[in-house]
Amino acid sequence: MGCSSSLPDRSSGRLVGPNSENGGAPDSKNLRVKLVLLGDSGVGKSCIVLRFVRGQFDPTSKVTVGASFLSQTIALQDSTTVKFEIWDTAGQERYAALAPLYYRGAAVAVVVYDITSPESFSKAQYWVKELQKHGSPDIVMALVGNKADLHEKREVSVQEGIDYAEKNGMFFIETSAKTADNINQLFEEIAKRLPRPTAQ
């Protein structure tokens, strides 16, 4: 399992103050996006996010790192910025019924499984079905096979992931939070797929 244990700088996400680390209401150039993470416990959801948040070395970007809520802003090539507000969910079975409270209003859902665990892949499929039934209709969904560095223990083939994602109109990627492989690509690809709000 591998999140590295060094700690990022913490900026205290103050409640007080205007709505706006990103300067007021989001506009078409500066998106603010609620992203919910779903997946079995132990698949490395939070490791992926920590990798992503720590991997951005822009010292000017404001980062909020909590144990389960994180936010990070990325700049895209077309000079827009996307601020991801990442909501982690508890993956244990006993909390499954609570998930709708978290994905309500989310623009993005990232469903994570562990390529060495077929159970976690079935659980991922369960979440996809849930989201299709109860999530907002224009939610952007990504299917992520994590722990891609553990080739020798692989039990879910790349093709299975691709096929399932394709059938369900999702974006698919395999990542390794341990080696940071494909972590940034995951978030950049999500950012590209976001529907752009029409300017008011």
């Binding site: 244990s5 409640l15 132990g42 909020t64 993956g91």
Partner: protein
């Protein structure tokens, strides 16, 4: 702590803000013309906040104000309005009180036997000192009347848990497991914090009072959801808020399958806890005791600090109490207080009738209908509206 609020009050004293003051007062009066209904009230309040935000942005007193300054004014406004409307809007329906009671009863049963391992909380995260700190933050929720401050109590509680997790990952090299670790801890802390038998390290009277007041989990959450300015219930605060909503929901639905515990053992524990609760009514910490000790020691219930003494009815100890706080032992005091109030009211009505000014009196029926309005106007402590 609340510089926003004092700044807001200062600006409202400026003659230039008279138009705003009038709008605020007339809003507070006007809402009492409608039957209390949480959804409708919330819609009116939220619409009013939006209207006022626009008015403040256009206002000469805030000319060239930064977004931050406008926001501070809005925070002040939210606190002012919601403090005035608190008794109307907080836990106002019987359903809310019922739900609070249901949760607090469930929690009380769980307190009797639930251990961290039943939620698979690893020993490494069993840090009593941190938990205590988190509990104290959560318990403060009932000391505040504004949605912002209540929400802040939740956020602060969650941040203590957050720090515990971050520290464990740093010093103990535990892999950060995010929400998988966070939610169970919040659930456990919520259960502990609601305990009437919760022992704090220092046995100060204030602590006893706080722990004697069940956090009214449901009512507090609903109040924040409905009345916190919508633009502010987002992002990190919304995340922590959602986690406490989850906690509430988890506790309500909790059954044998929700825990790492044998089903039969669970049922036996619940049964034993129910029996124990019947045998020993929560002795030393009933509402009446808490109120009495608050008087004996000239200690104020924290929430009383925030309101005008004249209108708080501090002579009537149950003004702050909720149905769920009461025990059979309170009946006696309630009855004597009731007799006292009725006697005073009867004498007062008699005096008013005899008094020559009684001709200008408003008919009794409308007095009843507007009693809220009148007390609210008095409560504002500022000049009344011209023309009523």
């Amino acid at each position: 702590m609340d510089a926003n609020f004092y700044d807001f009050l200062d600006r409202m004293r400026n003659p230039a803000s008279l138009d705003l003051v009038r709008s605020i007062k007339s809003f507070i009066v006007s809402i009492s013309f409608y039957a209390a209904n949480p959804e409708n009230d919330a819609k009116r309040v939220q619409d009013f906040f939006s209207t006022m935000e626009a008015a403040i942005m256009e206002h000469p007193l805030w000319e060239a104000a930064t977004a931050q300054e406008i926001d501070s004014a809005m925070e002040g406004l939210e606190k002012y309005v919601m403090t005035k409307l608190f008794s109307r809007t907080f836990s106002s329906s019987p359903e809310d009180a019922k739900m609070d009671l249901q949760i607090s009863e469930k929690i009380q049963l769980l307190q009797a036997f639930l251990k961290p391992e039943h939620l698979d909380i690893p020993p490494l995260l069993c840090n009593e000192a941190s938990w205590l700190l988190a509990e104290k933050e959560l318990l403060k929720i009932n000391a505040f009347k504004s949605p912002r401050e209540k929400l802040l109590c939740i956020v602060n509680c969650c941040k203590v848990i957050n720090n515990l997790l971050l520290n464990a990952s740093m010093s103990e090299n535990r892999v950060l497991a995010g929400a998988d670790d966070f939610l169970p801890l919040l659930i456990f802390v919520t259960i502990k914090a609601s305990s009437p038998l919760c022992h704090f390290a220092d046995h100060s009277n204030l602590r006893t009072l706080l722990s004697a007041n069940p956090p009214q989990l449901h009512s507090n959450l609903r109040f924040i959801q409905l009345y916190r300015r919508q633009a502010k219930l987002v992002s990190e605060a919304a995340y922590y808020f959602t986690n406490l909503v989850s906690t509430k929901s988890f506790l309500l639905d909790l059954n044998a399958k929700s825990l790492s515990m044998d089903e039969i053992v669970f049922e036996e524990n619940m049964k034993a806890a129910r029996q124990k609760n019947k045998l020993t009514p929560k002795e030393p910490l009933s509402a009446s005791e808490a109120m009495k000790s608050s008087q004996d020691h000239k200690y104020q219930v924290p929430s009383e600090k925030m309101q005008d003494k004249e209108t708080s009815g501090s002579n009537y100890p149950y003004m702050e109490a909720e149905a769920g706080d009461l025990t059979v032992r309170d009946v006696e005091i309630l009855l004597s207080t009731y007799k006292d109030v009725v006697a005073k009211y009867t004498n007062l009505s008699r005096a008013v009738r005899r008094h020559p000014f009684s001709k200008t009196e408003i008919p009794v029926s409308s007095v009843e209908g507007t009693s809220d309005t009148l007390s609210q106007l008095e409560g504002t402590g500022a000049p009344s509206l011209p023309g009523g």
